[in-house]
Amino acid sequence: MTTKQQLISESPYKPVLAKITEYVRETHDSFTIKLDWKIHHQPGQFVFCSLPGIGEAPISICSHSDEYIELNIREVGNVTKKLGQLKVGDELLVRGPYGRAYPMRDFEGNNIIIIGGGCGVAPLKGSIEFIEQYRNKFRDVSLFFGFRTPDDTLFRKRMDVWKEKFNMHVSFDKVAEPSKACYDGSQGFVTQKVNELVGDNTNTVVFICGPPIMIEKTSEILLNKGFKEEQIFVSAERLMYCGMGKCGRCMIHGRYTCLDGAVFRYDELKDYKDD
């Protein structure tokens, strides 16, 4: 009996190389990179970025194009801090895309309300770009963004464009006096703006992404206004390692965030947000 050596050349864990073609520093702790990686993806999906020797991290796609991919990354962990030190021309390892996307086709002919808080704006940017590309398929589109301070504003250039195209409302939790950055928005939580301005729920869907407390409070306000649970789509964040329902780390009460999410309908998660 002999020992057979088998080469594993095809493996779902094996990433591919992608080159950084653009690097924009957004705030003191976050940046956006553009990769020359051509994959077909849907708004709301995510990819794994890795640096050999450091590790792998799931990052949501914040663009919508088959030609390139943009990732907005906040420097909070080992991998993301190291990614922040890369520059244009550097290469990193990527695999994906993973996750269930926003069912955008089902929303055609609807009003869309997009609510983002902090770096939660990044995953929503993909769906906003989708709407821009198919603008005539959707009716009224409102954007509500909340940032900690004017200095934390993401995608400044895009915001100027969106302001012209959609009903956009930006709010800042805190505005330092005097603020270093120019800003256009009001002081207060994003929830206050939503409470003030959102009214009718007919033919409307809502996307929410942000810190758990913000998602919870915003959904509460919307439900009180008569929105149905099926009209609200929220994003969940969990630790994950594989992206294909094997590592078991991202499970929320039996649902895999990587396969069944990261976009969930509100009623799928409501009772088990903390699990």
């Binding site: 009996m1 002999t2 020992t3 057979k4 050596q5 088998q6 080469l7 594993i8 050349s9 095809e10 493996s11 779902p12 864990y13 094996k14 990433p15 190389l17 050999p52 020797g53 450091i54 590790g55 792998e56 991290a57 909070v76 962990g77 080992n78 991998v79 993301t80 290469e91 990193l92 390892l93 964040e237 969990r238 630790l239 390692y241 594989c242 294909m244 329902g245 094997k246 590592c247 078991g248 780390r249 499970m251 009460h253 039996g254 396969l259 903390d274 699990d275």
Partner: protein, 332 residues
Amino acid sequence: MSQQYVLKKENFNNFVEKVMADYDFIAPVKAKKNILRSKSLYQKISNPEDIFLDDHSYHTVKGFFNDPREKLFDFDGNKIINPVIELRQRVFFGLRKCDLNGIWHQDMVFLDNKHQCDPFYKARRDVSVLIGLHCNNGFEHCFCNSLDLRSDFHDLMFFDKNNDFIIEVGSDKGRKIIEIASDFLEQGDNLLTEEDRKIKNMGHELKTTNIKKFYHHEDWKTKGADKCLACGACNMLCPNCHCFTIEDDVDFSLKKGTRIRKPAPCQLKHFTRVAGDHIFRQDKTARFKHRIYHQLQYFQDRHDVQFCTGCGRCIAGCPARIDWIEIINNME
């Protein structure tokens, strides 16, 4: 009707030696004194005398299918080097009903083509022949009679009947073993009664597997999590638990290294820790419940198959002696 064969017990060692000529033979052996409280564990054997079938093995065989430090690939800077794994044809002997069902559940997770089949698991699984051994009697912590398990998932199944082993063939892989050892086997028909297929004297009983309504029950905390040491022994001993971590090991140059995959226990606090030090299941009760609900409800909801195999290893191996079967049985 599956084919049946008779192997006289006096020929058992000859059978093993015959199979050992072509395959690695992995079977339960008695652990050395003072290790594992003298319980048995699966090992590759070289002498048929070593096989010990009187007890339920302490560990499962899952480590033979997923390497505890699986090499996903090597890297040198950004260059990826495909891994090579060493494979030998092997036979697992003495797998109980719970072990076999455990392997079937792992197959459902790792060989799932819809969500990408795992090539490492598949390669190891392809070279493995599974030979089961029917339990005539249950053991102290077993409760598999309370669960809905498959009894047809095996390549060969051994039934211990008086002075013979009755062998049932379950697949082509098993038939090949029969051909190899045909000198010691006699073909037969209808050798097993309904009574022979039953497992008697089970130590435990789980009254209900429908625990949805108990999710907010306080007994999870008072009788379970408060005693739990969060050591993860139950995860390591479970034939089903398959959660893992992926991490990079680098050498001193900090350029070359290996991306490895290793098991991760959900009872440990860091299991759900994300960057920024947020831990989703911070509370021990949440982690305790997570494991039990995964065993009895989550997998059932997703695949319509009962995940827990009722082997009772998590109870036998728990240093705090938490008997979660009793906790559920006493819930109202």
